[in-house]
Subunit: 466 residues, 2 copies
Amino acid sequence: MQTYNPITQEIVDKLKAITGPSYVKTDKDILVQYQTDYENDPQKFHMPEAAVLPANAEEISQIVKLANEYHFPITVRSAGTSLADGAIPVYGGLVLCMERLNKIIELNEEGMYLTAEAGVRTLDIQKEAKAHGLMYAGDPSSAESCMIGANLATNAGGLRAVRYGVTRNQVYSLEMVTPTGEIVECGGILKKCSTGYDLEQLIIGSEGTLGIITKVTVRLIPLPPYHFDVLAIYTDPRQALYMVPQLMKAGIDPTSVEYMDNSYVRDTADYCHYSDMPHYEDGIYVIITVETFREDELDTKMETVCNICEETGAVEVLEADDRIWNMRRNIQNSCELVSKVFLTDDVVVPVHKIAPTIEKIMEIGEDYPFQVKINAHIGDGNLHIVLCKVNMTDEEWAASVDKFHHQVYEYAYSVGGRLAGEHGIGAKKLQYMEEFTPSGELQVMKTIKRAMDPNNILNPGKLFNA
Amino acid sequence: MQTYNPITQEIVDKLKAITGPSYVKTDKDILVQYQTDYENDPQKFHMPEAAVLPANAEEISQIVKLANEYHFPITVRSAGTSLADGAIPVYGGLVLCMERLNKIIELNEEGMYLTAEAGVRTLDIQKEAKAHGLMYAGDPSSAESCMIGANLATNAGGLRAVRYGVTRNQVYSLEMVTPTGEIVECGGILKKCSTGYDLEQLIIGSEGTLGIITKVTVRLIPLPPYHFDVLAIYTDPRQALYMVPQLMKAGIDPTSVEYMDNSYVRDTADYCHYSDMPHYEDGIYVIITVETFREDELDTKMETVCNICEETGAVEVLEADDRIWNMRRNIQNSCELVSKVFLTDDVVVPVHKIAPTIEKIMEIGEDYPFQVKINAHIGDGNLHIVLCKVNMTDEEWAASVDKFHHQVYEYAYSVGGRLAGEHGIGAKKLQYMEEFTPSGELQVMKTIKRAMDPNNILNPGKLFNA
């Protein structure tokens, strides 16, 4: 178990000298907001000793150097929307908040890129791009509140990854403060590059353990003027799932392919107060979005999609209106109707394994006392399993969740899957990361972490035991 | 200057025990083939002390452990098509040849991926995919001879990167032997992943300095059934170059946008013995390829492309026939008509900076005694500058090449460019890498290299001074 020094008054004074006194917090009433993120289980909460809200990379650099000098841990916090306990300061110490790095620096229409500080909300980047007739294609479900730097840190996925890829695929370059406090730029606005190690790709997805991302430049793409959303309703999950490979091979290039099991259809309809949803009782909803640059292309692609859905057994194929997307967006909220404590999980498998994986998980779930709910970005093999605690005791819950996860992860790894498709590992899955990652691969990760962060200052207790 | 131990008879015997005696070469007559790659300047050649042709990852693992034990350097060699002295054993030692790892292991149509040993030729992967109605989109100009593992090692680009991205974007996973001899798999057949560091992206483009790639799994995509190739001929290079942004914003999604200056039009036509090429005397050729999934889409896109070319000042817009592509493919060979020794360079800049960059290079070139020839993948900002030595003395040549490069690289970095878009740094540009890379970024690269390869065994003298 790693140990650190406490944050003394001397350190607090030095922090205040760096950022100005009003940006260092030590008051328990204020710190309490930083003890969790989207984690809803109080057993997972941890209080930091202090929080700091720096203004820029230079201040962050000084803070990180201070942490190395006095040996206290830093946990980076963006909007606190992590579903993997990623923003929880599991070793106490200092929480470093990114919210003041909130400026969009440049949108270059000719070069089709946007540069922003790391604390800019993803939604604001999407809006800014759209205002210029362009698109930022990264689109995590939490886009309204999450911040772009954290999207990079977790390699956030989201709803449009089938066509556009994940956050990793949107990034040209980034600026970071290294674990020893240097400010380093990685990458460039380049479509090709073969000039040394691809550091930005190493940093993306490293969950703040290899550097604090302070600035990012993302690519913008032409905004397709046309789109349609189809809702295909199935009553047999296998038919819904086996539709995916047909769709992927048809050259349609869909933007989204979203799956909601029947429990979600019911709960999200109830949550949104929609009383007349089709097949409320027995329907599985698959939402397919296609975007095009030409209107006639839209018609022929829509026809192809509808045909594929009907041929694979959809009982109804409709245009998906705003209500459907509103239900999709409220998936997380709707779980609160079922249980105050629930656990959202994130697993990814090869796309052609998504059908047997969901079947297997449903089969595993039958042996457990909790309700198992599944929604999935089935176009990219990424599925979210929600377990609802309802009235179980803490002990029952902890033991059965762990047992369930072992069964699910063992299956996922057996078909080439991984622990997390888009939420990251955080503190939540650290033990599973240690257990399921092949030792050679894990060893290389640890070698890099130890070389870059010799004092283990940045985000300890996340990803793996460094 | 790093020093190593010589390869003694004891080491040779141990190598023979690993691979079988016929796969270890120490005969000078045989070793001479390994002293260079596509480098044509004998001053850059280096003889290895021995060469080994292992059969698989297990043998490579043992060889690498031996190198760590006896402290001799290993230079990995695939097809020897490097244009950056990447396969030259600059510290002598052992050349490790990948040619026996030449099996395609699996093509999975349902999962749309292909797994191959690292020494399989890229062309054979393209062919195998095509035979199944699929496409492997990586397409370096040297595809006929180069090997897939080396494509990863250099993050090879090529002709189709505008639409499909570079090698980095085609890879699902890889197996490597680490610098200390462990066999490690990185990545998975996953469209999303947020499960620890993205090691495969770190290894890709690391030019064999962080691991020897032994197996790769690449994505395959649906093969678009339709395509057209347009040849737009310009007489003013600026008009040709300023066409690119128009094309990129039109939602055409071109596969290739290739630029050949007039010297290349003449030399490649001469090389191919084509006597009646249009605008042989004054033409700049831009070749544009577009692929589609529907026939009617082909017609409308072709119309759009032709309109853009005509509006931007093309003097002729024709269908590009096989002869045009044959000329393009013989760019490198045609230089031999001009000069026995010539130097191929590779620079990348942001796409919207390609026009001023080419103008600037032509301007710089006017002050030098050698001929400057330029061809470019202008759709992704990647340009190749060839300098022809002709009758210059070695001293004149070395001094003026170095001065020219400094001017070009300074300009490229000033617009956000980098030293290499697709050829890598190799030994050829190591000094420039040390000079032009911002020190913070270079330091992080060296930290990783030293941690992963503490004895500096793999490909020393490449990329940077480790």
